[in-house]
Amino acid sequence: MIGFKNVHKHFGALHVLNDVSFRVEPGEVVVICGPSGSGKSTLLRCINRLERIDSGEITVDGIRVDDATPDIAKVRAEIGMVFQQFNLYPHLRVLENLILAPVKVRGLSREQASGIARALLAKVGIPEKETSYPSQLSGGQQQRVAIARALAMQPKIMLFDEPTSALDPEMIREVLEVMVQLAKEGMTMVVVTHEMGFARRVAHRVVFMDQGRIVEDAAPEAFFTQAKDPRAQVFLSKILTHI
């Protein structure tokens, strides 16, 4: 579904992605973790070309997305993305946030799009908030709206960029519940997160990055119990005592 082949990317002198190759199969849930600055968010943002790469090849659903595709918007329409800072449109009500892309990109009628949007709002547990503005919602509710907004495009893949890092602890659970439900429905998901409980419950693989490289790529149990790389062990010891 997603394939990286020898991908390199620099930010000035910083080598943020250093010869990254990996694959995500349809229906797989992959959790990416690693210390801050390890390149995990950049890797995620390359999948829908919010970041350009310097060399290498990235394919999504058989389509090259690194450079060869002139019409990246079409590919992006098939990939949902959820951001750390939610990035909801503050000037639009919740329902309008959800239907903007289906109407403008997919060309659905407002009624069709609203129907889908209402169903999704019910699914993420806040059907009553459709006429609210984002600023009137709690962080957890905003992030659930953001997930619903991404799902409204009926994507084949969902990307999550630290979706719970900006949330208060009591709101993290409500967002994770939605994500777990999504994973169980068989959605292909790539999730950058430090929520190891989530990884344990639903991830098929955990990828550990450090200094722009993929250092570990293993099933969750194997990753938690027998990580080979010393950097991964240090990271795990820090993050697991934390939980």
Partner: protein, 256 residues
Amino acid sequence: MTDQPVDLRRAMRSPRVKLLIWRIGCGVVLMLALRAVLDLDWTSVAPSWLFLLTGLGRSWLLAIVAITAGGLAAAPLALARVYGPPGIRQAATALIECVRATPELMIVFWVYFTLPIVTGNQVTSWNAALGSLSVIAAVYLAEVFRAGLYSVPRGQSEASAATGMSGFSTFLYVILPQAVRNMVPALIAQLVGLFKTTSLVYAIGVMEFFRSITVTNNAVFAPYQLYLVLALGYFLSCFAITRIVRWYDPKYQLLE
């Protein structure tokens, strides 16, 4: 991947290559401009170079004196507006806002034409220029200082107070250093603005850069050449102000 051919499309997209292309483009334009400038006849203008340079020097002098005097007056104005007791605060606000709402040219005229009528003493145009530019600098700088003081988050003074610092120490050691840092961009804008404003005292007969250009033009009639000198003189002066401050303040370079 070493034996792969260079991907041209990708190479054109790299920031470094784009910058290079941009710089080459700028270079070509500058060369063409330089050729056009050299094609002009400069013989009639050349003898006036010292006179024109003196004019530019006077503009700089006006700006520096006005900024210094204005800055000295602006500090108490800003402090009165931010920390002053009730009556004083409103008075400072009213004074600043009234002067800011008046066109700069009106202020120049006001000082030059009306002060003598009120006081009965004649004011030289040079002193009127210094006075009016200082007044202009004072009210605009007062606003810059005020914005700088407000730019420091409330949590800073609370945190400082929590450690037992007095109000004055909090202001001196916590608020002021941060405020000054945050003021730098606005300060540059005001310095540049004031330098440009010095051109207005042309209207009351001060022989600053603008008037020295027009006077020269009346004598030798070389409008294109002199206009180039005029534009270049102001542009380079203003450009220099922005660059000097950026060079002096390393933090500002990081912001770019």
